[in-house]
Structures are given as structure tokens and as C-alpha cells.
């Protein structure tokens, strides 16, 4: 081995060379790092952009911004504080009876422009694409808004907007949250958190006035006193505020940045001034769960879709692990007539025929078996041909000596499989489970064909439903939130099991 000696240059010490080399090393690492960043930007970019847009008020905003108020510390802190003011809860926000919320707006009125204060009002805002149209009471119909000047600096005036909600009963007692249930004749009833339905007493004229304006599923606050429940008032999820300034005036700032601007920036809308963090930064995520209620049961459809997807993926994985390993072992090691034929016909051929070809026959079969539901979906994917192939290849690669020694010890074929071979098959089984989970989770075509009721949908079909419902309304934030939520499990699985991903397939199958 020859070592090339670099002759020390004049005017440069060995120390300087060391430093130069160190710099080079850092520069090289930097380049590599930058390259990886760029690559991950290209691969993860769409996902990250979707994630970012799913938090915006207007996911279609053009040009798109990377720095959005939903992620700025100051705004998030304000959202938390406003949530505490309105709903005593910095995370969920909302507006509860008896609360007062203050919100500040700064208006610049230069000399020559009108010096009048802005007009403020609550407005009805409730995304209407799905169920909510007729469902919930609006803060506008209950709360009072007041505007008071709160100081002047130069030509910028600060105004304080105060939103107050009335309390509809004077009874003292314990506060209980509830949701209105179907009225019992003329009488309002409410379901308590435990599920118990109780009659609601309206003891003031103000409370009696709202008797017919509050629909079923409306969240309310009640006062419990001696077994009687008095209506304290409805709980609003949002407090939408609108601010209009005159021509010549300009809104300089506000406690939260406005979500919509019209009229040359003179009409501002704040879709929710009591958001809390969930209602501000993760608004669309919360909406995905909250706004997809099934009108029959009041339960979140999105939640059922997630559960259905997990159930389906779990069943598929369990079935694949059991059947594929058994079938793979039988095809690899047992001798029986027609083995090659079964392998060629049932495994290879089944794998080569596209799903769409036997769509009609499978559909009709499932329909006749009354299995047009998630169980039929599972039944249809019970044995994965690809999985059988994978397990067969794996078992073929295992040394025969293992089985021979087992049979010397007197083990039959099943014991050999169960006690000797299966415990060795860990890597292949994990590979199988991961691929099955992923394909079940992402399965779209069959669920779309088979599932009829929207409570039975898996997440993929539910999301396509989302697109239909909200896409036409331009409500892309919700679709993006749903998409991000549906991608999360697969991402988590990828991150946790990535080393098995690398060693999937033939690699792990042949090595054992």
C-alpha cells in the first residue's frame, strides 16, 4: 500500500490543511444532505403541500403561501386564548352560554377618510355541503355584539368587539353538557353524556322562546338541580364575525387574521372567532369527523369509515397469514396429486387475471349470498394468490433437514408445519402482513362496487364520496384533511416496518 504524501505548500501549516479537509468533509455532507432534501421534497412534496393546504382557510389560494397564520405561534396562541374565553376550552373552542369574548380590530383612517367606526355583525356560517344545513343553531340568533373604541395611535384606531351570550335560566346548580334528543311531544329532551335521555325544563320566557328553534343533535348546556334539568343555552361550535370598513379606511390588524376578504379588502369575514387550537389549525380535520354525521344515528360517518377500513385490513391480514402460509407450505413441501395443476391454475393463473374480468360473476355470487357488505368484501379477498406464491417460495428455500429431523422425532406434517416451519417464517409473514395491510387499506375498486350503505364504506370509498360532496362546493380543505388522515396509517406502518419493506419478497423468502 502506497501512501501519497502531499507536500506541504508554502505559507500553509498542517493545521490549515486539516481545517481545509474538515471544511471539505462538511461541504460534502452538506451537498449530500441538500440533495436528499431536494429528493424528499420531490417525493414528499405533494403530501406536504396537501398537509399544509388542509390547514388553510382557503386551500385553493393563489399564489399559495408556505407561511400560513394557522401555523404561526402568535395566531395559534390567540386561537387558544379565544377558545378559553368562548368555551372555557383552549383546544375545542366554541361559544357557551354566559360567556363574553373580546376581539380587537385596528382600523387605519387617514385624514380625509371617514372617521366612522366599522360595522360589525355575526353572520350565519355553516358549511352546508353535507348534513349541517338544518342542524345547528347559529350564534347570530342568540349572542349580542358590541363595538367600543379602545384607543388611538396616529391614524390607527383600535376597536374592541364584544360578543356576549345570554343565559336562559336563573337556576343555580351543576352544569351538565348534553345534546338535544328527539322531542317528546311538545317537550324538549336531551341526551346526557352517559346516554340517559332527560326532559328539559324551560323556566324563563327567553328559554321558552327558543323551544322550537333548536333542532335535534344541537349541543346544549343544562343546569341540574334536584333531578330537574334546566336549559342554560345552546353551545355554538363557531362564532362567525363580519367587519366592514368605509371606503378610504383600511383594516390594519385584528386578533386573528381574517379568513375571507372582499370588497377591495374592506369587508372581512372571520369564520370563527372562538376557534381553540383544534378549530383553528386543525379545523378541517375536526370537520371531517364532525360534519359527516349519519342523520339516522347522529354518529360520525368518517369515524365509521376509519373503523371499517381497520376492520377490513385486520381481517385481510389475519386471513392471509393463516391461509397463505398453510397453502404455501402445502404447495412447497407436500406431495399430492394435482399439485402442479393447483399451483398453475389456482395461484399463477388467478394472479394473472385482472380483477375486473371476474367482476360481474363475483358480484352476482356475493349478491346471491347476501354478502354485499364488508364481510363479502373480506370473503372476496380471503386468500391472496400473491401471498400463497410468496409463502411457497419461502418454504421452498428452507432446508429440508429441518423437516427430516422433525419427522425422525415423530412429527406429522401439521406438527412439522406448526412447530418447526412456521416459527422460522417470521420475515416472510411480516412481509406478507405489511403488503396485505397496505393493499387492503388502499383497496378502492371492490369496496366501491360492493358496499351500498354509506355506514358500510371503507375510508377510500368514503373519501371519493367526500370528493363528490365537497369538491363541487370548492371545499377542498376537507378533502385534503381526509386524504391526509387516510394516508397516516400507511405512513406509520412504513416508518415502523421500513426495514422489513426492504427485505420483503424473494429476498427474505429465499434466505429465511
Amino acid at each position: 500500500m502506497t501512501v501519497i504524501q502531499v507536500p506541504p505548500r508554502s505559507g500553509r501549516s498542517a493545521g490549515a490543511d486539516e481545517r481545509w479537509l474538515a471544511r471539505r468533509r462538511w461541504a460534502r455532507a452538506g451537498w449530500l444532505y441538500a440533495f436528499m432534501l431536494v429528493m424528499s421534497f420531490f417525493f414528499l412534496g405533494p403530501f406536504l403541500m396537501g398537509l399544509l393546504s388542509s390547514m388553510k382557510d382557503d386551500p385553493n389560494e393563489y399564489p399559495p403561501r408556505l407561511l400560513i397564520p394557522q401555523l404561526s405561534v402568535a395566531s395559534v396562541r390567540q386561537a387558544y386564548a379565544l377558545g378559553v374565553q368562548g368555551g372555557a376550552d383552549g383546544w375545542n373552542g366554541g361559544l357557551r352560554p354566559g360567556r363574553t369574548v373580546t376581539f380587537e380590530v385596528q382600523v387605519r383612517s387617514p385624514a380625509g377618510a371617514p372617521q366612522t367606526p366599522p360595522t360589525v355583525a355575526l353572520f350565519p356560517y355553516q358549511p352546508v355541503s353535507l348534513v349541517s344545513t338544518t342542524r345547528f343553531a347559529q350564534a347570530k340568533d342568540f349572542a349580542q355584539v358590541q363595538l367600543t373604541p379602545a384607543g388611538t395611535r396616529g391614524d390607527v384606531r383600535t376597536y374592541r368587539v364584544t360578543v356576549r351570550t345570554p343565559v336562559l335560566t336563573r337556576q343555580p346548580g351543576r352544569r351538565v353538557d348534553g345534546v338535544l334528543a328527539a322531542p317528546d311531544g311538545d317537550r324538549l329532551t336531551a341526551a346526557l353524556p352517559g346516554g340517559r335521555v332527560v326532559p328539559v325544563t324551560l323556566d324563563t320566557p327567553q328559554a321558552q322562546e327558543v323551544q322550537f328553534t333548536l333542532p335535534q343533535y344541537q349541543p346544549v348546556e343544562l343546569i341540574e338541580r334536584a333531578g330537574t334539568y334546566y336549559l342554560r343555552g345552546p353551545v355554538f361550535e363557531r362564532t362567525p364575525l363580519q367587519v366592514d370598513v368605509r371606503r378610504g379606511q383600511q383594516v390594519q390588524g385584528s386578533t386573528l387574521p381574517p379568513s375571507d376578504r372582499q370588497n377591495f379588502g374592506r369587508s372581512l369575514a372571520f369564520r370563527n372567532i372562538t376557534p381553540g387550537i383544534l378549530g383553528y389549525t386543525f379545523n378541517n380535520y375536526r370537520r371531517a369527523f364532525k360534519e359527516t354525521t349519519n342523520p339516522a344515528s347522529g354518529r360520525s360517518l368518517f369515524f365509521s369509515w376509519v373503523l371499517n377500513s381497520f376492520l377490513y385490513a385486520f381481517l385481510r391480514v389475519a386471513a392471509a397469514v393463516v391461509f397463505c402460509s398453510l397453502a404455501g407450505y402445502a404447495l412447497a413441501r407436500l406431495n399430492f396429486p394435482g399439485k402442479t395443476l393447483i399451483f398453475l391454475g389456482a395461484v399463477l393463473f388467478a394472479q394473472m387475471v385482472p380483477n375486473q374480468v371476474n367482476l360481474v360473476s363475483n358480484y352476482v355470487l356475493l349478491k346471491d349470498l347476501h354478502l354485499l357488505n364488508i364481510w363479502g368484501l373480506w370473503f372476496n379477498g380471503l386468500v391472496a394468490a400473491g401471498g400463497v406464491f410468496l409463502m411457497k417460495q419461502f418454504f421452498e428455500g428452507m432446508p429440508r433437514e429441518l423437516e427430516e429431523s422433525a419427522s425422525i422425532d415423530g412429527a406429522g406434517p401439521f406438527t412439522t408445519f406448526w412447530r418447526v416451519m412456521l416459527p422460522q417464517a417470521g420475515p416472510a409473514l411480516i412481509a406478507l402482513a405489511i403488503t396485505q395491510f397496505q393493499s387492503a387499506w388502499n383497496d378502492f375498486f371492490w369496496p366501491l362496487v360492493i358496499l351500498r350503505e354509506n355506514t358500510d364504506f371503507t375510508l377510500t370509498v368514503g373519501l371519493s364520496n367526500f370528493r363528490e360532496l365537497y369538491g363541487g362546493q370548492g371545499d377542498y380543505g376537507l378533502i385534503l384533511a381526509g386524504a391526509v388522515l387516510s394516508a397516516l396509517p400507511v405512513l406509520v406502518i412504513f416508518i415502523v416496518f421500513q426495514r422489513y419493506f426492504v427485505s420483503t419478497g424473494a429476498d427474505s423468502a429465499v434466505k429465511g
Partner: protein, 409 residues
């Protein structure tokens, strides 16, 4: 012997319970309609039908409804009552699986043009569930800022164009007068306004008709100096999106724009006017977009199905739909409803959509027996001219030759 008796008794019981448990299925759209119809059925249909031992269920078809309904009709598994969109009526009528309703249902309470939309050869195939027409929806702020009068119900093509041009000149390059979709489904209303007919007596379409050319030239002429702008030029894909940007003063849309604006531009101050009249004919043109309830010809419970249809289109049911601000129902008498007299922008829009149904040359939105591809040559011509790639005369010539090929197939 006793076993046989028991079996017979069991069978009899089964048969009687089957007779008592008659079910009427309604096939319709998925999504929002699922919620609305379930609500409507629970309120207005179930109470009456339950007394006769009949249950009513709503069966939504998710995804492409026309495709889904075709499959169900072919497999004989469609509901007893079903949604029937007017634009695909001809195809479904040809299957002979839709029951003509003449003599079964009274048509008099419903708007005449809506009944016409569902009539072929004197046979009525559906009763309109609700409908929509086109209106001019305008951004009040832009007109105020430019100091130009709002579009009004008396506007003609010329006066509207003058207003839009003045507005554009006042506001400058970043703002536009009107959102022009390069589609027959908006442009067609203007073509009808001239008295142009979609199909002649032989079922052919004439795009060289001077009436059509006049409308085409006016519509595409607005794109001059960017008074008119296509949605894609303001990064959106329809008129509602144009309005939301706050940079386009007018869009030609129906009642569906109200909910969109309430969600997406809650502080936009907008108004609604009827479409402008053609200067020469003095008439407006308009589309009727409508979906009706039809009855399956092979239903086993015809009488019950008719009853369900009547309940779904009954006055209280339609009143409820209207007052919820969900759709514009099809009964003539509803014009006197208090909802239409409200000053709120959404209610104003609903009133004008309702009025548009029988003002001028109103035609059902349809593509004829050959389906949606019929509109392609027109859409291509509009897109080519609006984007400045072709001259109007040139584009129309090509459109006519494409249309002839299409209809000759």
C-alpha cells in the same frame, strides 16, 4: 299430518307478513340528497304510508347516477320510484321501463315548462322534484366602486355589455366584467334568447343559423379587451369560483351558487338579476335544469308508488324544501311563499330562479338522444374563440362540420 299443518300455517303466516310488509324503494342521488330525502320521507311520506302497512326506503346511488340507474333498470332491480334527470330522459324512455304518468298524476299544480321537459310524444314520464334556471349573479361592490348601475331585469344584451365595458374601463386590468364559461350549458341560454332551436324538425342542429351566430358573436365578443374572462384565467373552473375571487363582476349561474358563496365568500355582497333580453326578439332565453320523480314500469305496487310520488311532491313537502333554502320546488302556487319576499340575497336569487322558469324562451337542459357529446363541437368553438385561437366565423364553420359528422353517425 300435524307437521304438514304446522308448515302450512307457517307459510300462511309468512305470506301475510310479506303482504303487510310492502316496501316502496326510492332510487336517487347519493350525497346530500340522501340526507334531504330521508328527512323528507320521515316527515311527509312515512306517516301516511305506515298507516297502510307500507314502508318507504331511500336507496341512494353513489357515483355516476345515470350509469347506476341504467344498470339497475337493466337488472330489473331499480326502485319503485326513482329520480329521472331531464337531460338524460330520452335514453331512459327508450328502455320502456319508465311508466307514463298520464291519468295517474295531476300535472296542473306544477310549472308548465317543467311538465313539458318530462313529456315525450304526449306522454309524461316524471313530475319535477325541483329545478333551477340561470340568473345573473353580480358583485355589488365592484359596481359601486366603478360607479356603474347594477345589472337589472330590464337589461338587454347591449345595455348589459355597455355596463360591463364601463366597469372594466373604470377598474382596470385586474378586474373583469363577466365570467364566460366556454360551455353550451351557460352559453345556450343566450342562443335560445334569439329564438334559435336546438333541433330542427329532422332532429338536426344548425349552427349556421343567423340567430345562433348572433348569440355566438355577442358572447365571444365580450372577451374583447378582457371584459369577459374565462374561469381558468382567474384560476377557477366555474362562475361561482370567479365571483369568489372578487375580481369578476358578473357570473351566469343558478341557485346553486348561493350555498357556495355562503361557504366560500361569506362576506361577498351580491345581487341577482334575470338574464338580459335579446335586443331584436325582446326575450330572454333560459335553461331548465330539473330532476323528476318517475315510476318504474315494472313495479309491483303501482298504486303505492303513485301515492309516494304524490306525497313527495305535495304542497307541504315542497314548502319545506323551499323554506330550508335547499332547492326551488316545482309548484306554481309557491310564488306567493313568504320566503321569496325576503330581502336576503339568497332568497332574492331563489325568486329570480323561480321567475326565470317561464320568462321568454325557456328550454329544458338536454343534449338530445345522442347524449352529452352533442355539446362538444359548440364547447370547442367557444373555447377556441374565447382564448383567441380562432376567429368566430372559422370556429363556427368547424363546429358545424363536426356537428354534422356527429349527428350523421
Amino acid at each position: 299430518m300435524t307437521i304438514r299443518k304446522v308448515l302450512l300455517l307457517g307459510l300462511a303466516l309468512l305470506a301475510s307478513s310479506a303482504a303487510a310488509q310492502k316496501t316502496i324503494r326510492i332510487t336517487g342521488y347519493g350525497g346530500t340528497d340522501q340526507t334531504l330525502l330521508t328527512d323528507l320521507i320521515n316527515r311527509f311520506v312515512k306517516p301516511t304510508m305506515a298507516k297502510q302497512g307500507i314502508t318507504v326506503v331511500y336507496q341512494p346511488l353513489q357515483g355516476d347516477y345515470n350509469k347506476g340507474l341504467t344498470t339497475l333498470l337493466a337488472a330489473n332491480t331499480a326502485g319503485d320510484v326513482m329520480y329521472l334527470p331531464a337531460e338524460t330522459l330520452d335514453g331512459f324512455v327508450a328502455t320502456k321501463k319508465i311508466l307514463p304518468l298520464n291519468g295517474l298524476v295531476s300535472t296542473t299544480p306544477f310549472i308548465k315548462s317543467l311538465n313539458t321537459a318530462f313529456t315525450r310524444d304526449g306522454k309524461l314520464y316524471a313530475i319535477a322534484k325541483d329545478f333551477n334556471t340561470l340568473t345573473l349573479v353580480y358583485n355589488k361592490d365592484l359596481f359601486d366602486e366603478a360607479g356603474v348601475a347594477y345589472p337589472s331585469n330590464n337589461d338587454t344584451w347591449t345595455t348589459l355589455a355597455t355596463k360591463l365595458t364601463a366597469l372594466k374601463q373604470k377598474l382596470g386590468s385586474e378586474y373583469y366584467g363577466i365570467c364566460l364559461q366556454p360551455n353550451f350549458d351557460r352559453f345556450g341560454a343566450f342562443a335560445y334568447s334569439t329564438g334559435w332551436k336546438q333541433f330542427d324538425s329532422k332532429g338536426k342542429t344548425n349552427l349556421a343559423d343567423p340567430a345562433f351566430v348572433q348569440a355566438f358573436n355577442w358572447y365571444t365578443g365580450l372577451a374583447k379587451d378582457k371584459v369577459g374572462v374565462t374561469p381558468s384565467e382567474v384560476s377557477t373552473d366555474w362562475g361561482g369560483g370567479c365571483l369568489k375571487t372578487g375580481k369578476v363582476a358578473v357570473a351566469v349561474e343558478g341557485g346553486w351558487v348561493v350555498n357556495f358563496l355562503r361557504d366560500n365568500a361569506p362576506n361577498l355582497k351580491y345581487g341577482t338579476a334575470l338574464l338580459p333580453k335579446n335586443d331584436a326578439t325582446g326575450k330572454r332565453g333560459n335553461f331548465l335544469y330539473t330532476v323528476g320523480y318517475a315510476i318504474n314500469a315494472s313495479t309491483k305496487n303501482r298504486a303505492a308508488a303513485v301515492k309516494v310520488l304524490n306525497l313527495l311532491t305535495s304542497a307541504p313537502a315542497q314548502q319545506y324544501v323551499l323554506e330550508q333554502g335547499l332547492a326551488i320546488p316545482s309548484r306554481t302556487a309557491l310564488i306567493n311563499n313568504a320566503y321569496f319576499k325576503k330581502t336576503e340575497a339568497g332568497a332574492q336569487n331563489a325568486r329570480l330562479v323561480f321567475e326565470g322558469a317561464d320568462d321568454g324562451n325557456v328550454r329544458a337542459f338536454t343534449f338530445g338522444p345522442k347524449g352529452p357529446d352533442w355539446g362538444k363541437p359548440i364547447n370547442e368553438a367557444l373555447a377556441a374563440v374565447l382564448s383567441g385561437q380562432r376567429s368566430a366565423a372559422d370556429a363556427l364553420k368547424k363546429a358545424q362540420s363536426d356537428m354534422t359528422t356527429f349527428q350523421g353517425r
